[in-house]
Symmetry: C2
Subunit: 410 residues, 2 copies
């Protein structure tokens, strides 16, 4: 066996060892997908896994006021830190790589630096942001938004999950003080560079690793349709005020407007009340996820949907509200940092934009020099149990992240 | 005060006393609607209420093998019994009168007969059928269908609720033997006449009480649409196989076909998986409730929906299944029994059909001479917290039922 082969095998073994300790946490045996909603038992177990792994590497672990976890190599008080990391929560029945790949790769990148006896000049941090997916409380990137002051703490505390539990209650249940959440400008100011590694979520990469140039403007809107609950059998068709009709029309209108405008828009979540087979519903709530390359396109999309749904509601005798839940402007990652990443990884490294939101985008918007590495996704499938990256590409991702940390911090 | 006034006041007081002891059970303070899903704690409390009320009247209470409750005045073994009653379960957030009015009125009708020292020649029974709404396990009139042999016991045992609990588990949890469910022909043969009192569910009555002539053919079908779960942001519109689009189209098609054919059809229940804002769903399941005056119209409606949804699924790249969950043929209530009811209540008594299914329809289909009394619903609203009947109309319903029991049994 050559030295190169031996090194590759060792990297793959190291990757598999770390990954196999994380992968079972919160995986639903039935769907094969993950149920790591923030502050759920599965999420707490994944957080505990991170703390154990970080401490095993001699990193100093702390939880910030918003519930994000930080592990430090060096003293963060020195400032100008190089931070990497991602998140461990999942969409319901989501894939195992989204978020978790960035956290596991960060730990392994630290191992790689240690193995080559690197001595960082700048503190290196690994962060695990909470509620990145917004799957439990509805606001994507909630942990980083709170940190950055991009969401009002009082509004955040009152956010509820599907069973009516507030974020405040969930935080208190996990031993955090809900009154303490909110912006931490000092913590943010200590970050000199943030580089998040993430699985790519389209099929844009023909090589194992690429560098992200920016994020499309995007957001989620809640469409609430109210009608009149009634008996499905006895109510005359002409007497109905059925919110399901308006919601169904909205689903199709969202799709059509997105296609016409070259945008991406989706209704992936729908809640019907009372959701009984033999009852005309009282209310239907639909969530619209919309993204476009340009802010003006996104604005037009939302305006068109709003207008068409209002017209339909008039016909259906229903009332509609379309309210923004979280909206993110376009993000251009730090150009100098991106250039440095490409230089460190080789001039052939692909540079690509994405329509997916990330904590790196929130930090960039808050003024932190931020960038991202993407690891190839052979099928492009994401937010699904079928999401996948090969072991070799994951190992290449770790190597790239280690190279970047070395370039920036050492 | 005249004797008539005093009698009316006494009847109203009696009505209010019984009703006020039942009305709080399972009422959701937030919606004002009822959450009496079968075998839930609220349903068990309502059943206990019935047993207590029946025993207080000296009636002999028994639970049959399918979980239906029976209270007897006289010995049912004598046969040719006159049975009344209805159900106590509700649709989620349904009204308080649907089912419960028939049970409470039956108890009060027995009181009325006792007050006039009636001595029935035939045994009089009050039945509380279980899972009439099908809101927990999906099959409407499950208790009466099992009794009548109209549903396969093995299939019934395996029915699951929204959380995956089977009917067998729910029955065992309530102390019943799931292996024992199934037809009870001897019990059925002892019923010489079944008269169910129920709140009317349209706005067909201009008088307090009417007699039902029959029930439209009706049924519920499960439409399961499967696509490909994926990321809502990064998946190109052209690459999607989004089951939400097919389901939304189906909602609108069901409504349009019903209107074109003069039928009633509704999608009131929808389950999206994984139901995440930022994920194209993997599957969407929609339930179609459809009813028509003629069986041929109902068949055509279902065939048209099936064809149109299949065409749409082809465009969406999804697959669809449309499966009947419970289908009930047209019911003509026993003509001689209906005539006798009208004769007893007065020749001006309105006779009306209905599009709502009832346990009386299941018994009629099984060959039991059956009929129904309807109590006026001033708004026609049903399966909703806004469902309502006035105290005076409820009292008139009790008087009518007592008159009918006297006519048939004494």
């Amino acid at each position: 066996m050559s030295t190169v082969d031996a090194g590759r095998d060792a990297s793959r073994d190291a990757w598999r060892s770390v990954w196999s300790s994380l992968a079972p946490i919160g995986r639903d045996p039935a769907s094969g997908g993950y149920l790591r909603l923030s502050w759920s038992p599965a999420d707490l177990a994944a957080r505990k896994w991170f703390v154990t792994e970080a401490r095993a590497r001699g990193l100093a672990v702390e939880t910030d006021r918003n519930g994000n976890l930080w592990a430090w190599w060096g003293d963060p008080a020195a400032g100008d830190a190089v931070v990497t990391g991602s998140h461990l929560d999942s969409v319901p029945h989501g894939g195992g790589f989204d978020g978790a790949l960035g956290v596991a790769s960060a730990l392994l990148a630290v191992d790689a630096l240690r193995a080559r006896n690197a001595s960082p000049r700048r503190p290196i941090g690994i962060v695990v942001f909470t509620e990145e997916e917004g799957s439990r409380f509805g606001v994507a990137c909630l942990g980083s938004r709170l940190l950055a002051g991009a969401v009002d703490p009082a509004r955040a505390r009152a956010l509820t999950d599907a069973s009516g539990t507030t974020l405040a209650q969930a935080l208190a249940g996990a031993g955090l003080d809900p009154a303490g959440i909110g912006p931490e400008p000092d913590r943010l100011a200590r970050i000199g560079a943030f580089v998040e590694l993430h699985i790519e979520q389209g099929r844009q990469l023909s090589r194992p690793v690429g560098v992200a140039s920016g994020i499309w403007p995007h957001g989620r809107w809640r469409l609430h349709v109210a009608g009149e609950g009634n008996h499905a059998g006895t109510t005359l068709m002409a007497d109905r005020r059925d919110p399901m009709l308006t919601a169904a029309f909205a689903v199709l209108a969202v799709n059509k407007e997105a296609r016409l405008l070259g945008a991406h828009a989706t209704v992936g979540r729908l809640v019907v009340h009372p959701n009984a087979t033999n009852a005309v519903p009282e209310t239907v709530t639909a969530w619209v996820d919309a993204r476009a390359a340009e802010q003006s396109t996104l604005d037009l999309l939302v305006a068109n949907v709003r207008r068409r749904v209002a017209e339909r509601a008039e016909r259906d005798g229903t009332t509609v509200e379309l309210v923004a839940e979280s909206v993110s402007p376009a993000v251009d990652f730090d150009a100098a940092l991106c250039d440095r990443l490409v230089a460190a990884l080789g001039p052939d490294t692909p540079v690509l934009g994405t329509a997916a939101g990330h904590d790196a985008g929130v930090l960039a918007t808050a003024g932190v020099p931020a960038a991202m590495l993407f690891v190839r996704n052979p099928t492009g499938v994401s937010h699904s149990p079928a999401e996948h990256a090969t072991d070799d590409d994951c190992v290449a991702g770790v190597a790239a992240l280690a190279r970047v940390l070395e370039e920036l911090a050492c």
